[in-house]
Amino acid sequence: MDPVTLAIHATPAFVASAVEFVEATTIVLAVGVTRGWRAPLIGTLAATATLAVIIATLGVAIVTIVPELLLKGVVGALLLLFGLRWLRKAVLRFAGIVAVHDEELIYQRELAALRAQGLARREFDWIGFLVAYKAVLLEGTEVAFIVIAFGAAGGTALTAATVGAIAAGIFVIALGAALRQPLTMVPENWLKFGVGAMLCSFGVFWFAEALGMQWPGDALSIPLIVLTFLAASWLAVRMLKALLPEGAQIEARNV
């Protein structure tokens, strides 16, 4: 696969994984700033190793052993469920019904909670280790799911999805390390909106393919399906804004 094709195929996994890496980075940053960097960095490495084992065993086994059509059907169904969850939440956030994900607020809350725990200077900081390990493992589980989902077609798709996720990890971690503060500039809701539509589209595409449908233009149908999801979701945002009383968005955030 040439680099340009690889980049195109890796983009969905890159964008989707970046959102998860931002959330994990916020927590690791909070631990590092409050309690020192050794324990959270070891926790992060341990969680990364755990995830590598999960992807290497479960992901590769699924992609190589399960028949392609069955795999596409199952992964398509899972992608649709996963994508609908993202899309729904992003629409509710844009409409003002659910509070927008605030990395700064999460960071400050985590700082306060960790400072309250105290720290014995000479011992290994198990709290810092576990908080970082748990955050990276939980967000990383979502990244593993994204890689398996986008790589479900096997071969080059799995390679591209893995490359996309690794690139997102390097990019976000480098940004976090350089800035040493929560990545509030990342437009998380816009990304979740786009990724939700993309995941739903891949879900519909693969599930129908698994049932024997041949899409017109094959994979060229995917952008059309994505646009349909985006258009319907945007109309839903407008509908929700019209439903709420004038100026009620701020109040509705707390509903």
Binding site: A232, A236, L244, P245
Partner: protein, 77 residues
């Protein structure tokens, strides 16, 4: 820890029970039509699934909007 991972895995797929059940129903309808119908039906199931899912999303969000409006109204009173 394992409880957290398990709840994350479940949470990955199910945030709103009705939306998840609706999506599964749409998938089941599509699967049934693909198996019961002929080749012609099989070439249309993707578009049918797309329409069903879009209707589901809009209906689910409309319900969420109506609930939010009712709560805002009662909070203002």
């Amino acid at each position: 820890m394992f409880k957290g991972i398990w709840s994350t895995l479940v949470g990955l797929l199910v945030e709103d029970g009705q939306l998840a059940i609706g999506a599964l129903a749409a998938l089941a309808i599509t699967w049934a039509l693909a198996n019961a119908g002929g080749d012609f039906a099989r070439q249309l199931i993707g578009w049918l699934l797309l329409i069903l899912v879009l209707m589901l999303v809009v209906a689910n969000l409309y319900r969420a909007g109506v609930t939010a409006r009712a709560r805002v109204s009662s909070a203002r009173r």
